[in-house]
Symmetry: C2
Subunit: 267 residues, 2 copies
């Protein structure tokens, strides 16, 4: 789904900090940065990235998420990386022997939205590609967040986990109420025009002998009107439909000896 509008300036709003613990591959740092940028997150912290920092592969994978990459900071310890945060969630796909509450991304998004809305700072911890977070790292978090995956197919990469959490943050913080573009629905015609269509149609059907049983006529008409009302036609569409009816009707009025034969195929 392409669609980035590069003429729009990015506004850095308060949002959760993303902390990657000992990320191994630069590509994953870059794709995580993009996932953050997709949903308006921008504060990235790296604890001992394996291949050092800055990392060219990370920058290449981040594509245009420069505002995230340029803001990224590196820490020697996780304790340093979380020291200004007052709410920290550890994301993990593994059952652990740790006595912490486990919540889903929607609950995490809701709590972060309320926390950050109250002027405080929240962060999300993500672990190494191969073996996730260490128990001592999870111990620094308030709760564990896990994704409601199919247990038989639970493997997500870091960028995907970041994407879901970032999406939930945006959704729950109310920013998602504004979609990037809205419905382009036309103006629905005034009801009188719709009734005009009905009357024309029903008159035509009366003349064509459509209503074989007079007692059923009102029910059939109700059903037709119900179906056509659901279309929410515009004035233009009603004019077109009335034209369609007239056209078919006129064809009926001018008996054509060929009309019972199928139309010749043209392709």
């Amino acid at each position: 789904m392409a669609g980035t509008n590069s003429s729009i300036k990015i506004e850095l709003q308060p949002s959760p900090v993303v902390i990657l613990c000992e990320p191994q591959l630069g590509e994953n740092i870059g794709t995580a940065a993009r996932a953050m940028a997709n949903f308006g997150l921008w504060e990235l912290r790296l604890v001992r990235p394996r291949d050092g920092w800055p990392n060219e592969k990370a920058i290449a994978a981040a594509k245009k998420a420069d505002h995230v990459m340029n803001n990224a900071t590196v820490f020697e310890t996780l304790e340093e990386a979380v020291k200004d945060l007052t709410l920290v969630y550890a994301t993990t796909a593994r059952m652990r022997g740790i006595q912490k509450d486990v919540i889903g991304p929607d609950e995490a998004g809701r709590r972060m939205a309320s926390h950050i809305g109250g002027g405080q700072k929240a962060g999300l911890l993500f672990g190494r590609e191969k073996w996730g977070l260490l128990n001592e790292e999870v111990a620094l978090a308030d709760m564990i967040v896990t994704l409601p995956v199919e247990p038989a197919f639970a493997s997500l990469n870091i960028a995907q986990a970041v994407l879901i959490l970032a999406y939930e943050w945006r959704r729950q913080s109310g920013q998602a109420e504004t979609l990037p573009f809205g419905s382009l629905l036309h103006e629905v015609a005034p009801r009188s025009e719709l009734v005009g269509l009905f009357e024309q149609l029903e008159g035509t059907l009366d003349e064509s002998g459509f209503f074989t049983s007079p007692d059923k006529r009102p029910t059939v008409i109700d059903n037709l009107r119900t179906a056509l009302t659901r279309g929410n036609f515009s004035s233009q569409e009603i004019r077109t439909l009335r034209g369609v009816i007239s056209s078919i009707d006129r064809r009926h009025q001018r008996p054509n000896p060929k009309r019972l034969k199928p139309a010749p195929k043209t392709d």
Copy 2:
């Protein structure tokens, strides 16, 4: 986030069909299949995949999502691919001149959950990597779904768009209420043990001269008790804490001439 449990059998539950229109790269078909599998979707339909089918790159990228790849079906036209569906959403990141309602993923998930829960079939259309869906393809859908992305950074790949929609389907269909693992919280100690801790602590503080102003003692005690109650301590933790208090207290009782000096640094 690794964590797939391959000993669990995958159950194919009714879920939305994913339809990729003219996907170009096999890798993207494979990663979309994985994103589907993460949240329990399994029915993949491909309309005119550019590089034919089966596609080795797709199978490699899908890793273990075999149940999705093996079920994938190929269609010559989108009309054929949607013919058994009664609800179809077109996902797009672009504003279009099409008169359709535009909804977000949460609303789409809710409607699909209700539709599929009622025994009907729903599908999600995704477009080509480079230019998305054609207007004539969107015209076959009931509504447009778009993601609540940051407008200045709206570019998502197909697998990411599938991931968010699949997540929302799972969340709204109620399957997400069961997380893959739950909290492992200990049993909280009976309140009497907590009171025992309070009384020991307060007795110790009385003896140590902590309460300098007797009028304020009740308030200070209330605050301490409030703070300690929030810990939801287990019996074992309370025993440990009581040991901590006793230990500090005993140190106090045996005056040590060195105790006012800072402890020597050991590192």
